[in-house]
């Protein structure tokens, strides 16, 4: 699909992401100005505070944004997932340039001018408002400009905590190796940054009295003011609208890969069909969905029993699916007050994949069958598989595997790498749609090394009580999706690049759910 064609198809979604992005940046900068400028003024009055406060603001900027989001999620009031967390992080990032430039700007005012102001009989607040702030405004606006451009960039990461914005396209594009998505997200973010820089540059020139002509400029200033007020009103409205309807909603989350988003979308549409308003918090990175659910900002999300068992509950992997399921169910109820749905009917486990023709030629059925071939093979594994305890280190030991070469690569690249003979064995996902379309063969885990990864929904107990429709949906989906069916659904999205909402809609209609 050409980029142009992609834009035509996705124009309205892209626009709404741009709008989310702009609103996030605008509100964050507004709050940062409201906090930062008075703080800066205070620092010019109390010299001893200057070092510590600027130091703290400096440290804030050095925390990697994803880590900062991670710290914020468990916190009450400012934490959780969604817009609020993203805003808190963005404000923290924006403070430094604004505070620093306020201090620099005010301290840079000609001392003769300040003294004249005092000697004319101005009170200290008049000196500040009529002399220091206007003369420092050029420098302060420069700080706001820098903060805004940084914020436009950092906001792309806000998508990882479900706050939306152009990061949604960038993350999705990275995951699906879709250059159109990547380009649309990154290009729009870059254009936004340039536009913000340009307009704040105009504003800055308005405040720099050096360049100001005697008469000209007042109309430009009025226009800028009008534009500012307009954006404020739109932003406020968007925020108000978001708030007004959040009461009765069910917040559905997902992890940041296609299948998780698909499973979440299924529940979302089924709830909506039953008149329950849904808030979608899809594509959350890492452990965010779990932490958000514990923090109460997420009502449910799809998970795999093996992941809960090992990554959340920190048990050593075992191979009995029933035992894992029961243990997870019991501990989640006791520790987190979270219910585990009936298994959905498929597993998404690590699948050891070889090319179909190799499997037929060498008559390979199981991983043990393939072990003698391994010394001649190159293997390709994703970063996740290479690093986790139940991944490569344990796996190679369990089967006594030694490969000629092990390459670490992005998970979604491994399938293509295998079919194009760059590597000879990869660890994929068992529900990956391309297994069938690329003629790949999944070797059976004959020693039952991998723990069972049965798909389930995790739901907060209090949400089940609050929304009866949730229980009904969970019951209907029990054992409702086979592995083949999941592969097909995944392929519709990753392979055929179709809209997940439509794929889910069709599937629900076909199944009469």
């Amino acid at each position: 699909m050409s980029f142009w064609h992609f834009l035509q198809l996705n124009w309205s979604e892209l626009l709404s992401l741009v709008q989310q992005h702009v609103v996030l940046v605008f509100i964050a900068i507004l709050v940062a100005v409201v906090i930062g400028v008075p703080t800066g003024v205070l620092l010019t009055r109390y010299r001893s505070l200057r070092g510590p406060v600027l130091g703290i603001a400096n440290v804030m900027q050095t925390i990697p944004s994803l880590a900062l989001f991670g710290f914020l999620i468990p916190l009450p009031f400012i934490g959780g997932i969604g817009t609020r967390t993203a805003l808190v992080a963005l404000v923290l990032y924006s403070l430094l340039p604004i505070i620093r430039n306020t201090v620099t700007g005010i301290l840079g005012v000609d001392p003769n001018v300040r003294e004249a102001a005092v000697a004319m009989g101005m009170t200290s607040s008049q000196v500040l408002r009529q002399v220091e702030l206007p003369l420092a405004m050029g420098v302060i606006v420069t700080g706001i400009r820098v903060a805004t451009v940084i914020a436009v960039g950092v906001t792309t990461i806000a998508a990882a905590v479900g706050a939306g914005g152009l990061g949604v396209y960038i993350f999705r594009g990275l995951r699906q190796y879709d250059n159109n998505l990547l380009l649309a997200g990154a290009l729009s973010a870059a254009l936004l940054a340039l536009a913000a820089d340009f307009f704040l540059g105009l504003l800055q020139r308005q405040f720099s009295f050096e360049a100001k002509r005697s008469v000209a400029g007042s109309t430009t200033r009025k226009l800028l003011l009008a534009a500012g007020v307009l954006i404020l009103v739109i932003g406020g409205f968007a925020l108000w609208r978001g708030r007004a309807t959040s009461e009765a909603r069910v917040s559905v989350g997902s992890k940041d890969f296609t299948e998780s988003a698909l499973l979440a979308e299924i529940v979302a549409q089924m709830l909506e069909a039953r008149g329950v308003p849904v808030e979608r918090r899809f594509e959350l990175g890492g452990n965010l969905p779990h932490e958000a659910m514990i923090a109460g900002t997420l009502d449910l999300y799809p998970e795999y029993t093996g992941t809960s068992y090992t990554a959340i509950l920190h048990h050593t992997p075992i191979s009995d699916p029933r035992a894992v399921y029961e243990q997870v169910k019991q501990e989640y109820a006791a520790k987190f007050n979270v219910a585990v749905s009936e298994p959905l009917g498929f597993e998404n486990t690590f699948a050891m994949l070889v090319r179909g023709d190799d499997a037929r030629r060498l008559n390979l059925k199981t991983i043990s069958d393939a072990a003698p071939q391994a010394p001649q093979w190159r293997a390709g594994f994703g970063q996740d598989f290479m690093s986790r305890a139940d991944g490569y280190p344990g796996f190679s030991k369990a089967y006594g595997l030694k490969f000629a070469e092990v390459r670490e690569m992005d998970l979604s690249l491994t399938y293509i790498a295998l079919s194009s003979k760059q590597v000879d064995l990869v660890a994929g996902n068992s529900t990956e749609g391309r297994i069938a379309t690329l003629d790949l063969f999944q070797l059976a885990d004959d020693r039952h090394y991998f723990p069972p990864y049965e798909a389930v929904y995790l739901v907060r107990q209090d949400s089940l009580m609050r929304v009866p429709a949730l229980q009904e949906v969970m019951t209907k989906l029990a054992n409702g999706i086979s592995t083949d069916e999941m592969r097909r659904l995944n392929y519709e999205i990753d392979g055929n690049k179709r809209d997940p909402k439509e794929v889910v809609k069709e599937w629900i209609a076909k199944r009469g759910l």
Partner: protein
């Protein structure tokens, strides 16, 4: 006593001032009379600018007291005190982001005058300092020459009709011709309006032209306080040193 109190507008009573351990003013006794122009003469760092700032309470004395209109500066409300005192500094100290009209009308605006009255006052003052209000009112300070800015500085100090003017090297940064004509005009204006002025300079010629009395300062002390005629006749070595510079200049010509 009551006669002195009536005639005196500023009194320095055994005033000393030190800043982070350094004595800047030592035992200063000085009475400035209503309507006179008193010039404080001295080299850089002699404490003459500090003396000015003690009057409008930009500084407070470390010892002794400064009285303005019979009341110590520390018992004045500083804002009220400063609005009764016009202050002119080198290059005018104008606000670069204000128009000339707003610069001149600043103190009246702070005092809450009506806009129309301020506008009238600004036009009156610009005419007084020899600048056409129609041409200059809406300009910004950087669009003016040094001499014009200095005139605006004087106009601003006069705006709220304060009884007392403090001038810190007001004509220092100007070329000799502009300086001479501004000095003449200032002397004229001050006499006409009956203002008391304390003017600080290191230029003995300026002191002789403008002063009713000259106070010679050196290392934080007031060495002598004389009329220009007495000053010219003095045998004090510091005075002779100043007058020699004058003669040298005369030879050059």
């Amino acid at each position: 006593m009551s006669d002195v109190a009536h005639r005196a507008i500023v009194e320095f009573d055994n005033v000393s001032f030190s800043l982070s351990g350094t004595n800047i003013i030592t035992d200063l006794n000085l009475i400035v009379e209503r309507g006179e122009t008193l010039v404080l003469l001295g080299e850089s760092g002699c404490g003459k600018t500090t003396t000015l700032k003690l009057v409008n309470r930009l500084f407070e004395p470390s010892a002794g007291e400064v009285r303005v209109e019979g009341k110590t500066t520390t018992s004045w409300d500083p804002i009220e005190l400063r609005r009764r005192i016009g202050y002119v500094i080198q290059e005018g100290g104008l606000f670069p982001h204000f128009t000339i009209a707003r610069n001149v009308g600043l103190v009246p605006a702070l005092a809450g005058w009506e806009q129309q009255r301020i506008d009238e006052r600004v036009r009156e003052l610009l005419s007084l300092v020899g600048l056409d209000p129609d041409r200059f009112a809406e300009r910004y300070p950087r669009e003016l020459s040094g001499g014009q800015r200095q005139r605006i500085g004087v106009a601003r100090a006069l705006a709220a009709d304060p009884p007392l003017l403090l001038l810190d090297e007001p004509f220092g940064a100007l070329d000799p011709l502009t300086r001479a004509s501004l000095q003449r005009e200032f002397a004229d204006v001050a006499t006409r309006l009956g203002k008391t002025a304390i003017l600080v300079t290191h230029d003995v010629r300026e002191a002789l032209i403008l002063a009713r009395r000259i106070g010679l300062m050196h290392k934080g002390r007031l060495l002598l306080l004389e009329t220009p005629e007495q000053f010219l006749a003095s045998d004090h070595p510091q005075v002779r040193a100043y007058l020699e510079t004058l003669e040298l200049k005369g030879d050059d010509r």
